[in-house]
Amino acid sequence: MGVVSPGFQGRPRTAGPQLPPGQYLIEDFPVLSAGPTPRVSLDEWEFVITTETGQVHRWSWPRFRELPGETPEVDIHCVTKWSKLGTVWRGVSLDTLLAEVDTAADFALVDSYGGYTTNLPLEDLLDGQAWIVYEYDGADLAPEHGGPARLLVPHLYFWKSAKWVHGIRLLLEDEPGFWESIGYHDYGDPWREQRYQGD
């Protein structure tokens, strides 16, 4: 137990089996990012997967929208301690996007319009665990939440779910992303409270 602060009682919010330790439930949808919101027009938008050998797979917006869509309903957990349960999205599974990609890579470095990056093991993007989403709650994804499209990896802290996603570089060796290179955890499992390096 931590050091007790005299007179502090706290007002624990709803907890439950669905909430990772240290998280509390919210109903609204806070916005967190390190710079201004990029506005990406659909004419210029593209999604690009680059393999470790430099092979490039590219989808324009119209081609991307022709891919089979899924409607994941998932819980999301932000490193700043809020969680939101049962959020509904629509997008394309990374399994679909990676199906034709020939790679021996173990790691992925995701990059965004605006320059943001985040890293994660490739296996965390596979097997129905991750999507590139373009709708939230039945409507087009708003720019402040990462529209036109963002990554959604609900089993990791939400900074891994890069907004304004542009592409994924597949790598043989792990490379830290934006927050990871300034002290945030490389993996970011909310159930193990992996907020910062060494957690």
């Binding site: 007179g7 502090f8 916005v31 967190l32 301690k81 809020w82 290179s181 300034i182 002290g183």
Partner: protein, 254 residues
């Protein structure tokens, strides 16, 4: 946000340290500056924050983030906390927390929203409410380092009574030459102030800021909506996205 701009990779484990309240100052009727003593504090840069952990007698504990309000000074840390009505942590820190009492802190956290005195390009600080806190750390770091980098601070408050660090900002402190402060009042302005109270707009940022050709570093901090508005205006005025850094103090720390 270019990755090249990020420095200070931090690999050591961030451990919790005990902080004790040494003294406090009321900034406004709803905001209090806490002076904390943290043995072995490793130092920090202006703009970084700490996580504060509170534990109740029954073992329940919770954490919130608070910006460091002043540059590192040995084991002494300064935070300024705004009391959020019906909040869980801020009412405790501003009303109950007493001299000698412990809390736990870990940090410093954040290496992106920082200003270092070695920087020489002009700086534009845009604060909404308690968003002044990390920006004040930058103003103070500039003074401590005797930097002559031109600074402009645009500070949006509800009314004159809501200004934090009012005296320090009002009369030019030694070392603050080259710091210009402009206020935006959203509800009520002081007597003799020309203009109408209202939310920050293009005209305010045009007047109180720097032209984009000067290539200033812009730091915007405050509630989420305020930060979105100010950052969008900076973009519309032609500032490069890579020179606009933002920190959002959402209600739930998000």
């Amino acid at each position: 946000m270019a990755r090249a701009a990020v420095s200070g990779r931090l690999t050591r484990r961030l451990s919790w340290r005990v902080a004790r309240l040494v003294d406090y100052r009321d900034e406004t009727p709803t905001a209090r500056t806490l002076l904390l003593d943290v043995a072995g504090w490793p130092g920090h840069s202006a703009g970084q924050h700490v996580d504060v952990r509170l534990t109740a007698a029954d073992g329940y504990s919770t954490q919130r983030s608070y910006s460091l309000a002043a540059p590192a000074d040995g084991d002494r840390l300064e935070l300024t906390v705004q009391r959020v009505p019906d909040g869980e942590v801020s009412p405790y820190l501003t009303e109950v927390y007493s001299v000698g009492d412990p809390v736990e802190v870990r940090g410093p956290i954040g290496g992106w929203f920082v200003w270092r005195p070695t920087k020489t390009e002009p700086v534009l600080l845009i604060a909404g409410g308690s968003g002044i806190v990390p920006l004040m750390a930058m103003v103070r770091a500039r003074r401590t380092a005797r930097s002559r980098t031109p600074f402009r601070l645009l500070y949006s408050v509800r009314s004159p009574a809501d200004v934090y660090y009012a005296r320090e900002l009002a009369r030019p402190t030694r070392g603050d030459d080259g710091l210009d402060v402009t206020y935006v009042y959203t509800r009520s302005a002081p007597q003799g102030w020309s203009g109408k109270p209202g939310r920050i707009g293009i005209a305010d940022i045009n007047r109180g800021g720097w032209p984009p050709e000067f290539e200033p570093s812009c730091f915007v901090c405050g509630p989420t909506g305020f930060v979105e508005t100010a950052a969008d205006i900076l973009l519309a005025l032609g500032h490069a996205p890579g020179r606009i850094k933002t920190e959002r103090f959402g209600p739930s720390g998000g």
